[in-house]
């Protein structure tokens, strides 16, 4: 992927559409571009599918978008890869229901919030109290899965990502 910085090109657009939008565009352009330029992306997110990407997902040890240096965290890179691949919802459901790798679950929760926008699915995970390391606004903190779910249900931003409008719950 050579970068011509003079011309505006949408790189790495997905072959998949989600509700009429190219799925890659579910991440803001500024976010995508920085992810695509990262070494982690080039080395770990090329030529993978929803199965092989698990090898990287299970290595996650924190949730965050960008380090202070501007380098994207693996969490964000893998998230962008997920929305680019747009796996069938049964696979996302599998990520959510597995209990061995909690950071994989958080990845799937964020996916459900941003792509599927399904509040009921999110609510099912409000009783998961496992601890999660979070990097947000330049600081590390310890949170839990349920707190993250609650934030996804109620807030407009998460780790600097804009959460799209979800509509009122039934």
């Amino acid at each position: 992927m050579s970068v011509n910085r003079g011309i505006i090109v949408d790189r790495e657009l997905s072959s998949r559409k989600h509700k009429g939008v190219n799925s890659t565009e579910l991440a803001e352009k500024i976010v995508r571009e920085r992810v695509f330029d990262s070494l982690y992306w080039k080395l770990n997110c090329f030529n993978v599918n929803a199965a092989t990407i698990l090898n990287r997902c299970v290595e996650l040890r924190c949730v965050g978008s960008f380090e202070q240096s501007g380098r994207p965290f693996p969490f964000l890179c893998l998230f962008v890869k997920l929305i680019q691949m747009l796996p069938p919802s049964e696979i996302i459901e599998f990520y959510l229901q597995q209990h061995e790798f909690k950071y994989l679950k958080v990845l799937a929760l964020l996916y459900v919030r941003i792509v599927e926008r399904d509040q009921d699915t999110l609510r099912q995970h409000l009783s998961d109290y496992r601890k999660i390391i979070l990097f947000e606004n330049g600081a590390w903190s310890l949170t839990t899965v349920d707190v993250i779910v609650d934030r996804l249900l109620t807030e407009d931003f998460f780790i600097g990502l804009t959460l799209p409008f979800m509509g009122a719950s039934e």
């Binding site: 992927m1 050579s2 920085r34 330029d37 990262s38 070494l39 982690y40 080039k42 080395l43 770990n44 090329f46 030529n47 993978v48 599918n49 929803a50 199965a51 092989t52 698990l54 090898n55 990287r56 299970v58 290595e59 040890r61 924190c62 380090e67 202070q68 240096s69 501007g70 380098r71 994207p72 965290f73 693996p74 691949m85 796996p87 069938p88 049964e90 696979i91 599998f94 597995q98 209990h99 061995e100 790798f101 909690k102 950071y103 998961d128 109290y129 496992r130 601890k131 999660i132 390391i133 990097f135 330049g138 590390w140 903190s141 310890l142 839990t144």
Partner: protein, 181 residues
Amino acid sequence: MSQQGSFGRRTWDRNEYERMAHERHKQEHQSHQRQTGKSRAKIIDRAKLNFESNLNKRQVITGQVGGMRGEGVGFRCELCDLRFKDNLKFADHLNSPQHMMNSGEKMVEPATLEQVKAVYEELVRRKTSNDDTQDKPGVTDTNDSHDEDALRTKRAQNHPIAKDDDMSKALGFNTFGSTKR
């Protein structure tokens, strides 16, 4: 190693030196085998580039390769006989159609749920046989004190990266090339 002889002259302990030389040969032989073993791999595992040291044969070239002027340091794809100034360019090359063709690596198809499950099961097996870096199933809140430790480590570091995660290894790798992300 050396001893004072009866005339006050130093004499060499031949056995000792022979043993040392022998061990050195053995080591050299082993490291040579390791290198040649590696270079036979055709498809480069990109992810592996993260955590292997710069001593990996693909990465450090010091001057002896002709062609590129300027710095003699860079990353080399032996397969395509190309050299790159920084690791990002090198990574781009590994993902290029040209390199894919030379290496014979195929583009993967989208995964089915069954394939996802199979990879997952394998990872669970590996995890339980190795160690518990994450929680055990069904256990909440009590068993993840390691996260608190990890957090402490992260906070203690000026650089907001855990030393032992892949990105920091990638960082070591990264500082080699440009300052670009």
